[in-house]
């Protein structure tokens, strides 16, 4: 592991060695840099340094229209980009005080839960690979491939989906191909999760490497601003889908798994169970899609959403709406909103300040892994360097949303 890190001894702290973990290291998942002060193999101090992937998303947002910001949200958490699309669309809809059509709401939940499963699969798979358990990763990535195929059918893109529009979706899902493949996933995915559990859950090496690593109490987690699976693993059953339901999540039947100690092992168990619960929601969504039947997936308010192309080419009024929306943007109310959704990694918030213009006056993204990663030092101080990688993987730090 030390091959890819630059090593220098720090004269100011004699006996300590300063090791740069990252910014380009196979186990850091993107360009993260952690400056480790080591005494032998023990970590004395760990200072994360971020900003290597800073693109200035918030500054760019101030010059783009509300619709043009959607592709930038793909690049926040690129493991589950469709959830960022949904979170952003909900924030702008809250500002506009509109609601998307019922069919769009179900599809949003469906793709969000698929993306949550994909995100957890990546997190657990890579976490295990970092620790040295390679085979479970292969079982998991087979399922992730199927999920990406599904997202590709829905959005036309595997990674950078840009699936939502303000007031609905870019297009309906292709039911003929989508539903059979989704049914197949519902059959194979639980089996793969079981296989993964057989490889990891009672594996003595896995539990030695993960148990008691990065344990946190609920008080510590709240003080550091934890949300999502990392907070639930500490023992607090807080999930925005239940606590502050959006997209009719209160009508879906699912449970919130919680851990007790907040260590890497508990976070693994919480994520594993969350995948199973998400599969239940996906199943319910497919049932509801059947019940709802065909219908619009984009709001029919042409002051907000573009009219269909056939109408634009054949009717003067639709052409005018199209022109007004493209050139002048949506007529936004003056005000500010904060809208939060439960993304795979915790609370993804968008804070939008509108001054009534085409582009937001200020747009701020609250990434879930940002406060989680900031607590790294407190979590691994005094532990071994090998624990840093186990902890880093279980935090599920995604540099895209961390640095924005």
């Amino acid at each position: 592991m030390l091959l890819n890190t630059s090593i220098e001894s720090d004269p100011a702290h004699s006996g300590q060695m300063i090791v740069n973990l990252g910014p380009s290291h196979p186990a850091t998942h993107g360009t993260l840099r952690i400056i480790l002060s080591l005494e032998g193999e023990n970590v004395i101090n760990a200072e994360p340094e971020i900003g290597y992937l800073h693109r200035g998303v918030e500054k760019l947002g101030e010059s783009l229209s509300y619709a043009q910001f959607v592709p930038l949200t793909d690049r926040l958490n690129y493991c589950s980009s469709i959830m960022n699309n949904v979170g952003y669309a909900l924030a702008v809809e809250k500002l506009l005080n509109i609601q998307d059509p019922p069919r769009s709401r179900v599809i949003r939940v469906l793709v969000s839960e698929l993306a949550r499963i994909a995100d957890h699969l990546v997190c657990i798979g890579i976490n295990a690979v970092d620790i040295g358990a390679f085979s479970s990763y292969l079982y998991l990535f087979h399922e992730r491939e199927t999920i990406y195929d599904l997202l590709e059918m829905a959005a036309g893109q595997r990674l950078h989906t840009s699936f939502t529009r303000i007031g609905g979706l870019f297009r309906d899902i292709p039911e003929k191909e989508f539903i059979p493949l989704c049914n197949k996933l519902l059959e194979t995915c639980p089996r793969s999760i079981d296989e993964m559990e057989r490889l990891l859950t009672r594996n003595p090496i896995w539990s030695d490497r993960t148990k008691d690593v990065g344990a946190f109490t609920v008080e510590q987690a709240i003080s550091w601003g934890y949300t999502g699976p990392c907070l639930r693993a500490c023992g607090l059953p807080h999930d925005l889908r239940k606590a502050q339901p959006y997209l009719d999540y209160e009508t879906y039947d699912f449970d919130i798994p919680v851990g007790t100690s907040g260590d890497v092992y508990d976070r693994y168990l919480v994520r594993t169970e969350e995948m199973r619960q998400s599969l239940l929601i996906v199943k319910e969504c497919l049932k509801r899609l059947k019940e709802i039947g065909q219908g619009p997936v984009l709001i029919e308010n042409y002051k907000v959403a573009l009219p269909p192309k056939e109408k634009v080419y054949s009717r003067a009024e639709s052409l005018m709406h199209h022109f007004k929306l493209i050139m002048h943007g949506i007529e936004m109310p003056i005000g500010e909103v904060y809208s939060a959704t439960e993304a795979a990694n915790g609370e993804l918030g968008f804070y939008i300040v509108s001054d009534g213009n085409k582009s937001p006056y200020r747009i701020h993204v609250r990434p879930p892994c940002y406060p989680i990663f900031s607590s790294l030092d407190e979590k691994i101080k005094g532990r071994l360097i090998a624990d840093v990688l186990a902890e880093l993987g279980a935090m599920n730090v995604i540099a895209g949303e961390l640095d924005r």
């Binding site: 760019l60 510590q220 949300t227 500010e336 804070y351 900031s374 607590s375």
Partner: protein
């Protein structure tokens, strides 16, 4: 009792303004009383500091708004606290109450140039140490003030690339 009433009874005149837009309850608090208000609402149950950021209003005096979002994990209420900050004014840090404020405050300093007092490790977060300017201020140019990105000047290599093509 609503949170506004309890703040008003404990710290009269702390809240200078409050409004409720789309269900987001917002209170405006002066910078001097702001740590006391945060401590008070912490005891009222708003224990999760979700987010801390700032907004720049260059035409307004005071110039900045510090915006902090809190959440009550029991009642699931949310509260937004806004603190008007003048340019060059130092704000007391929240890190002694909410450890998570650490990076959020460093980011606000990095992007807006607002300084925090009593922060354990106060320096830039995203940008490098000797970076000039504060990117999210409204007077900071979108191209970063970099002549390489400025279309008026053109790309420095544009002419040589053209001559190569010829």
């Amino acid at each position: 009792m609503s949170v506004i009433e309890s703040i008003n009874s404990a710290l009269p005149n702390a809240i200078t303004d409050h409004h409720n837009f789309r269900g987001d309850l917002t209170i405006v608090v002066g910078a001097n009383l702001y740590p006391d208000v945060v401590k008070l609402i912490f005891n009222e149950g708003f224990q999760l500091m979700v987010d801390l950021t700032a907004v720049d209003w260059p035409q307004r005096v005071p110039r900045f708004d510090l915006v902090i979002h809190f959440q009550n994990l029991v009642s699931q209420e949310r509260l937004r606290v806004k603190v008007p900050i003048a340019e060059g004014q130092t704000v007391p840090s929240l890190t002694s109450i909410h450890k998570g404020a650490d990076w959020f405050e460093r980011e606000v300093f990095d992007m807006f140039g607002i300084s925090f007092d009593g922060h354990p490790n106060f320096k830039r977060l995203m940008m490098w140490g000797d970076f000039d300017g504060y990117p999210l201020r409204k007077d900071f140019p979108l191209n970063g003030g970099d002549s390489w990105c400025n279309s008026d000047i053109g790309m420095p290599y544009a002419n040589s690339a053209k001559s190569l093509a010829e």
